[in-house]
Structures are given as structure tokens and as C-alpha cells.
């Protein structure tokens, strides 16, 4: 068995347990114990789910970018499985970011959607990930598929700093970064549940990637076993 897969099998359970604990505690803090906001009232609680979705989405794409570089260097099919798995999970978190953000936008800005720089660049990120997943679906040659997908992920990385800095570079409806060089723009009572949820989401992301990578690895292994069985039978 591949070393990476062995390593994942050993660690994934711990990541799953830690993610579940952080998210359960985070949900309790964000829904029950954290205070309402002076301006937004109870609606501010959406922040505790929207921001972790957004942060994890960006981290996931960064992992995909690094994984793609690693694949192009090593040409290891298991690294390709990991990239493929990361792209699926990143698409899930990006969609979650956009949907929860849209739900927050309605009471906060009185609109579900606006073509604001942050929202548009995040939407472009989702489109890049969808393109990546579609490319993986429709190509027959597995090696070519992995190479083209890695190149697409590396090119798509251009969007990542745009998403992150859009609220600083342009005047947007979206609020600026809460944690920046200017300092903290959030009270500690709100920051703690946010950190707990964010850590939970990062761990959940890692757990999902491990599960999905093993799933893709086993799919290919089964395919290879069956393929060999079939080719032998046809001899």
C-alpha cells in the first residue's frame, strides 16, 4: 500500500474525532452562548458558519495548488487522487460559503446577491473548481487528465489572492478583513467561537480529504483488479 494512504488510514480517525468535538463545541458557543451584535442583532450568528466556510474554501484551494505542483513534479497517481479529492471538497466549501453568505446578505444588505468584488471572485473560484471536476469526469486518458487538471488548478490559483484581498483593494459592500495588520475588528466574545468553528472546519476539511483520497484510491484499485481479471479472462 502507498505510504500516503497508510499515513491517512492511521490519522483520519483522530482528525474526525477532533473535528466533531470542535464543531459541536463551536455550534454550542455560536448558537447558545455568544452575544448578539449591537447593529445586526441575532443575524450575526451566521458569521460563525459563513466565515469558517470561506476560510476553509481558500485553504482548500491552496492545498489543491500545492498538490498540483507536487503531482507535476513526482507524477505519483496517489498525489493526483489527493488533488482530485481536495477539489471536490473545496467545491463543497466554496458553495457553502456562497450560500451562507447569500443568506446573511439578505438581512444585512437587503439583497441575496450583488456583483461585489468579493462575491464575484468567490463565484469565479467555484467555477474554476467546477471546470476542474468536469475535466476529471470527461477525459479517458488518466495520465493526461491528471496533468491537465493540475495545470488548470495552478492557473486558477490566480483567483485566490483576488478573493482574499478584494475587500482591501476595492470599495465593496462586503466588510473588510476582521483580522488584519490594522488589528482585531471583532470582540473576544465573538472571536473565540469563531476560532473554535474555524479550527473544526479545517479539521473537517482534512478528514474529508483523507476519506475521499482513500475512496478514489480504492476505486482505482478495484478498477485495476477487475481490469486485470477481465483481460486475463479474455486471453
Amino acid at each position: 500500500m502507498h505510504k500516503l494512504i497508510q499515513w491517512m488510514r492511521r490519522l483520519e480517525g483522530w482528525f474526525g474525532i477532533a473535528a466533531a468535538l470542535c464543531i459541536v463545541v463551536g455550534l454550542y458557543m455560536s448558537l447558545v452562548t455568544s452575544p448578539p451584535d449591537y447593529y445586526q442583532g441575532e443575524v450575526v450568528r451566521i458569521m460563525y458558519i459563513h466565515v469558517p466556510f470561506a476560510q476553509t474554501s481558500l485553504t482548500a484551494y491552496f492545498v489543491l495548488f500545492l498538490g498540483s505542483l507536487w503531482y507535476l513534479w513526482k507524477k505519483d497517481p496517489v498525489i493526483d487522487n489527493m488533488c482530485h479529492a481536495t477539489a471536490g471538497v473545496a467545491a463543497f466549501f466554496t458553495a457553502g460559503e456562497l450560500i451562507t453568505g447569500s443568506i446573511w446578505g439578505k438581512p444585512a444588505w437587503n439583497t441575496w446577491w450583488t456583483w461585489d468584488a468579493r462575491l464575484t471572485s468567490a463565484f469565479v473560484l467555484l467555477l474554476v473548481l467546477m471546470a476542474y471536476l468536469m475535466l476529471r469526469m470527461f477525459m479517458d486518458d488518466r495520465e493526461k487528465e491528471a496533468r491537465y487538471a493540475a495545470i488548470l488548478a495552478i492557473v486558477g490559483f490566480v483567483d485566490l489572492p483576488i478573493v482574499y484581498f478584494s475587500v482591501e483593494w476595492w470599495r465593496t459592500l462586503h466588510q473588510p478583513l476582521s483580522v488584519s495588520q490594522r488589528g482585531l475588528a471583532i470582540s473576544p466574545e465573538m472571536l473565540i467561537p469563531l476560532i473554535v468553528m474555524a479550527v473544526g472546519f479545517y479539521l473537517l476539511f482534512a478528514y474529508m480529504v483523507m476519506i475521499r483520497t482513500r475512496m478514489l484510491y480504492l476505486e482505482h484499485l478495484l478498477e485495476a483488479k477487475k481490469g486485470r481479471l477481465l483481460s486475463q479472462a479474455h486471453l
Partner: protein, 168 residues
């Protein structure tokens, strides 16, 4: 697969527990009634009333931290005597939630604290849309992984059949 289903049963129970605590908190600290519900059946205990401050009815005494206004429901209008913080939050035609008690002697509502419209539907929608698909996604992936693992274990590589060789 038994361990897998037990694990997911526990996750479901924990999720239901958190949901239950969230609902309790909503009932205790967030849910509000309108003047239309309060005035026909006034109650002595502390309640949260939601309504619009009627235009031309608001008068503030900033130094005393006091305000008097009328809170409008769909049909009924509630007279409110408010004493507390955040007088700046009080504006005519603004929708607010006032916590306090009904005073049967003055037939006025004695407000003690203010809060904004809860909009809890948005909060619930965001959490459900975030958490439920995540659990479903994870459940489907783990199930597929368990099934694949079994399938890989059971699938044997082709081995040529051993045919009886005639030794004669």
C-alpha cells in the same frame, strides 16, 4: 458496517441534542410576541414584545434614561414606558423587540431592555444549509469507502482454473 452505522447514529443524536438546545435558547431569549397577542390576554411574567414604534409617539428623557412611546402591532397598539440603556436605538417607525412586564394598574408595558428584530429564520436556514449537506456528503463518502473496501477485499485476481490432467 455495524460500527459505521453506530457511529452515524451517535452523530445524529448529538446533532439532535444541539438542535434541541438551540430551540430552547430561542424560546427563552429570542422568541417574541406581538401587541396583538399580548393585549387580549395580558400576562404578569416577563415577555418580549415585537412591534413598530408608532410615528409621533416617541418622547425621550435622555438624562433620566427614560422614554415613552406606542408600539404598534397589526391591530393593537401597546403603550410602553421604557427605562434603560440604548435610547439611541429608539426611533419612530423602527421595528424593535422590547423585554419587560405588563403593568395592570397603569395599563402600560414597563420595558427594561431593547433588542433588534431577531431574524432567526435566516440564522436557522444558514446553519441547516451549512451543516446538513456536510453531514450528508460525509456520510455518503464514508459509506462508499466502506463498500469499496469490502469489494476490494472480495475481488480476487484472475487465477487460471486447475484442470485435471490425464496422466495416462
Amino acid at each position: 458496517m455495524t460500527g459505521f452505522y453506530i457511529r452515524w447514529g451517535v452523530i445524529l443524536l448529538v446533532a439532535l441534542g444541539i438542535g434541541f438546545l438551540g430551540v430552547q435558547r430561542y424560546e427563552r431569549d429570542v422568541a417574541a410576541i406581538s401587541p396583538d397577542q399580548l393585549l387580549p390576554n395580558p400576562v404578569a411574567e416577563k415577555v418580549r414584545v415585537i412591534g413598530t414604534i408608532q410615528g409621533g409617539s416617541l418622547s425621550k428623557e435622555e438624562e433620566e434614561k427614560r422614554a415613552v412611546f406606542r408600539l404598534q402591532g397589526e391591530k393593537e397598539i401597546l403603550s410602553v414606558r421604557y427605562q434603560g440603556e440604548d435610547l439611541d436605538t429608539l426611533r419612530e417607525l423602527k421595528v424593535l423587540v422590547i423585554s419587560g412586564r405588563w403593568n395592570p394598574e397603569t395599563r402600560e408595558f414597563d420595558g427594561a431592555s431593547l433588542s433588534l428584530i431577531p431574524n432567526y429564520g435566516f440564522v436557522v436556514a444558514a446553519y441547516l444549509i451549512g451543516i446538513v449537506p456536510a453531514l450528508l456528503f460525509l456520510y455518503l463518502m464514508e459509506r462508499r469507502l466502506a463498500l469499496l473496501y469490502n469489494a476490494v477485499k472480495q475481488t480476487k485476481l484472475y487465477e487460471p482454473e486447475v484442470t485435471a490432467v490425464d496422466d495416462r
